[in-house]
């Protein structure tokens, strides 16, 4: 190639700058319109947003991988609820008054996380296995497992909220999203946000630099080509949904912390739509083969800012919903026009 900067690279940078500009615009909009100590940019509100971002972004990492592979995971919201319930359930084990967690304040929360993530990965496995072996489109399969996981969460919780002992609220698991004193003192951000950043970086590297990562793109771009080239398509698909489940599970643990160490089986209903929207605003194509973790992270920020900013503006629920819907459509439309302009 003659030029030093390839056309693809320069357009990638442009796309990224466009997304960042959109993010800045959305942020500036609310920052200007709701000024003051109780406004959008106040420390308290920033901390609140960071908590929400952590949950959406964690789940969106997994969803991006599923979408790149040409799939969709509608069960994400229910998986989040189920893993939240599992976390609460494990922390609530033992007889009344002397819960196990009080004797094992480190071990049992760890166990809870392993169980929560395990359950969610299992749902991912079922998703992947059914999509692969029944050859039914993932939309239908995960629509089914969405209902089943939700039902399971309610079953485990006995259709009630689960309240682990009050002491748990001071344990590390409940403080994952604990706000740092201000954004400008160490550790700057809640532990979970660091976790999300770490997971995002690792996943981006995984997608770009490993064989499995390249296989995921190939699978999503053209499954038949992947088969032809000897890509283990069935295995890759199952793994993709399991990775999706892994991140939903982690998001569920964060959701548990976000709610103040409570397990609510009816929470996170429809949450998968925010997660999918984050990926799509970030440039992932529902046709597969296209998407980036960095884009999705920006998408998650935009989604969270919109939800939070709308509340700060005192908009009624319906206005928030209308704005959110419009932003999703506009974002994807702009992306599509750019794509078309290039080819």
């Amino acid at each position: 190639m003659s030029s030093s900067v390839s056309p693809k690279k320069s357009s990638r940078v442009l796309t990224l700058l466009g997304r960042l500009a959109a993010l800045a615009a959305v942020y500036a909009f609310f920052a200007i319109l709701t000024p003051g100590a109780k406004g959008f940019t106040s420390d308290a509100n920033t901390q609140l947003m960071l908590q929400d971002i952590a949950v959406v972004a964690m789940a969106a990492i997994g969803m991006t991988i599923v979408i790149i592979a040409g799939g969709i995971d509608l069960s994400a919201g229910s998986a989040i609820a189920l893993s939240m319930i599992t976390t609460a359930h494990v922390l609530n084990l033992g007889p009344d008054g002397s819960r196990l967690v009080l004797q094992h304040p480190v071990l049992l929360p760890l166990l809870a996380i392993v169980a929560a993530v395990g359950v969610s990965v299992a749902i991912g496995f079922i998703n992947g296995a059914l999509v692969t072996w029944l050859r039914i489109v993932p939309f239908i399969i995960t629509l089914g497992t969405m209902q089943m996981a939700r039902g399971l969460a309610k079953l485990v919780a006995n259709e009630q909220n689960i309240y682990p002992p009050a002491e748990v609220q001071d344990f590390w698991i409940a403080r994952l999203l604990d706000p740092a004193k201000t954004v400008f003192t160490w550790p700057f951000l809640p532990a979970a946000v660091w976790l999300v950043i770490g997971a995002a970086v690792l996943t981006a590297l995984f997608l770009r630099y490993t064989r499995l990562g390249r296989h995921i793109f190939a699978l999503g771009s053209n499954e038949k080509t992947a088969v032809l080239c000897g890509v283990p398509v069935a295995r890759t698909k199952v793994l993709v949904y399991m990775i999706g489940g892994l991140f939903s599970g982690l998001a569920g643990v964060l959701f548990f912390a976000r709610l103040g160490a409570i397990g609510q089986p009816t929470e996170a209903i429809g949450y998968e739509l925010f997660v999918i929207a984050a990926a799509v605003i970030g440039g992932a194509s529902l046709l597969g083969g296209r998407g980036t973790i960095l884009g999705t992270m920006i998408g998650a920020l935009i989604i969270t800012i919109l939800r939070n900013g709308g509340v700060k503006m005192g908009w009624p629920q319906y206005t928030q919903e209308i704005v959110m819907g419009a932003v999703i459509i506009v974002a994807v439309a702009i992306d599509n026009l750019r794509q078309r302009g290039r080819s």
């Binding site: 390839s6 630099y209 490993t210 064989r211 793109f217 771009s221 080509t225 032809l228 080239c229 083969g289």
Partner: protein, 507 residues
């Protein structure tokens, strides 16, 4: 301009941003005339079609239809003026019936309701006219064969009383018999005064069917003539802009040990029985009609479809049933007949597609470094050569010929010993064809000086001159049974056709 001139195009230009897709196109078309529009892919034929159909507006130039200025506002307008297109990728709604498709967009109605009686009557007349007399107009298009679908689409043109019919590579997915039926229909339409533009790569078809030809290259018309008055090699020279001395280079190959042996291989449906022995340093061709089981044979032995019975040996060792991953590892590589939906991942890059089957060595352990991926693709892009902006360019931006070269280069990157090529030159331009033939020859020859052993190549093709031009031996598949492979010198196009249709007395 003679009195019989129906459509004339002069000086038409069309730009897309900085790309000059049409630089100046002139052609005339008379009533009852069949004009061949030929040129390599990317010469601007499709753009011209879109300008004619009103899908694109010309930036400059004049078009007249029946001596009136012709400025179609869109495809429906063009159709109402009597200019109809039959695209290569058929534009039918598979869930709708034949009659609904024929009258799509111009449905006869009574008030707001469909007039089904009228719909059926118009469709019936149109279907009769294109020779589908036995077809119930209410049949869903999904239940029709490719050839029937094409005829339904022509019926759609006939139903609006089209004056100019443009056919884009209409025979590319038809069987020999259907091609004859299509030719008969074109002649019938011609005798009724319909003017036909026939876009094709196959010069044999042009000779058989067309009155005149117009050659396009790089967005311009570069030559006109009467078919039969200009020798074929002159036409090819016009198309590629240079003389193609010999399309089929063939060196003397020295076959070595057998590397691929099939004995009575059978698939779930097809093939019924396929036996052959392919040797290193040899190009073996499989001829036969579409649907005779040639593609299925390749797919079964490559592990893409299940094997029902029979024996397969690779490099002299028995090779039990296995998936494509194992076949790649055994040194086999397959180029699919359908590069669009199977052969290539269209929105991935050239380098990504080229290296997909063998990502090892492009990074430590199971890692893949994109820079190494590009570096691995670069020599093939240069050697073939593949016309692209570099390994990072998405495959979908490449012309058909260059896409096909990427699909074949994948096998070269993989360093396959046995290359299974299914219709390797279907629908691509002559220049790319020549390059692919050269590579096939070179691969079978090997390069002892560079330590490159000869490869074995198995080619499935429906294009007989190609098989006769590049193969050392040819076997013919007839209704699922593969005949004996015989040296190419013992075959002619005629005898291959006889064998393919099951009339070969020797077989």
């Amino acid at each position: 301009m003679s009195a019989a001139t129906l459509l004339s195009v002069s000086g038409v230009q069309k730009n897309f941003g900085a790309t000059r897709a049409l630089r100046g196109v002139d052609l005339t078309l008379g009533r009852g005339e069949v004009l061949a529009l030929i040129g390599e892919n990317g010469a601007g034929k499709s753009t011209l079609m879109k300008v004619l159909s009103g899908a694109h507006r010309a930036d400059a130039g004049e078009m007249t239809l029946e001596s009136e200025p012709y400025r179609p506002a869109g495809p429906l307008h063009a159709r109402s003026l009597g200019v109809c297109m039959i695209y290569q990728e058929l534009a039918l709604a598979p869930h709708l019936s034949a009659m609904e498709n024929i009258l799509l967009g111009i449905e006869p109605t009574i008030g707001p309701f469909m007039n089904w009686r009228e719909t059926r009557a118009i469709a019936r007349r149109a279907l009769d006219e294109v020779g589908l007399t036995a077809l119930d107009p209410a049949t869903p298009v999904a239940e029709l064969s490719i050839a029937e679908r094409q005829l339904v689409e022509i019926a759609r043109a006939v139903a609006v009383g089209c004056k100019v019919l443009v056919l884009d590579e209409p025979t590319s997915s038809l069987t020999r018999k259907d091609v004859q039926a299509l030719f008969a229909l074109v002649r019938r339409l011609k005798s009724k005064g319909v003017a036909i533009v026939y876009i094709s790569h196959a010069l044999e078809e042009v000779e058989a069917l067309c009155d005149r030809f117009t050659v396009m290259r790089d967005g311009e018309t570069v030559g006109h003539g009467r078919v039969g008055e200009v020798p074929v090699h002159r036409i090819i020279a016009m198309m590629v802009g240079r003389d193609v001395a010999d399309l089929y280079p063939r060196s003397a190959h020295t076959p070595g040990e057998p590397v691929l042996e099939l004995r009575a291989l059978a698939g779930a449906k097809l093939p019924k029985s396929a036996g052959l022995s392919l040797r290193r340093g040899e190009v073996l061709g499989i001829a036969g009609l579409i649907g005779s089981g040639r593609t299925e044979t390749l797919r079964a032995l490559f592990g893409l479809d299940p094997v029902a019975a029979g024996e397969l040996r690779i490099h002299g060792r028995p090779a039990p049933s296995a998936g494509p991953a194992v076949r790649w590892a055994q040194g086999l590589g397959l180029v699919s007949e359908d590069r669009k939906t199977e052969g290539l991942a269209q929105n991935l890059s050239v380098a990504e597609n080229l290296t997909l089957s063998r990502l090892d060595g492009l990074g430590p352990w199971r890692f893949v470094r994109p820079s190494r991926q590009n570096a691995a693709a670069a020599p093939w892009i240069q050697a073939f050569p593949i016309k692209c902006q570099g390994g990072e360019q998405p495959v979908e931006a490449l012309s058909g010929g260059n896409q096909q070269k990427v699909a074949i280069a994948r096998l070269l990157h993989h360093d396959c010993d046995v290359l299974l090529l299914d219709e390797p030159t279907r629908g691509i331009d002559v220049g790319s064809k020549a390059q692919i033939y050269t590579w096939i020859d070179r691969l079978a020859l090997g390069d002892p000086a560079a330590g490159k052993a000869p490869k074995a190549v198995l080619v499935v093709s429906s294009y007989l001159p190609e098989l006769l031009g590049i193969c050392d031996r040819i076997a013919v598949m007839t209704r699922g049974v593969l005949g004996e492979a015989r040296p190419v010198a013992e075959w002619t196009e005629h005898s291959l056709m006889l064998a393919a249709t099951g009339q070969d007395q020797r077989a």
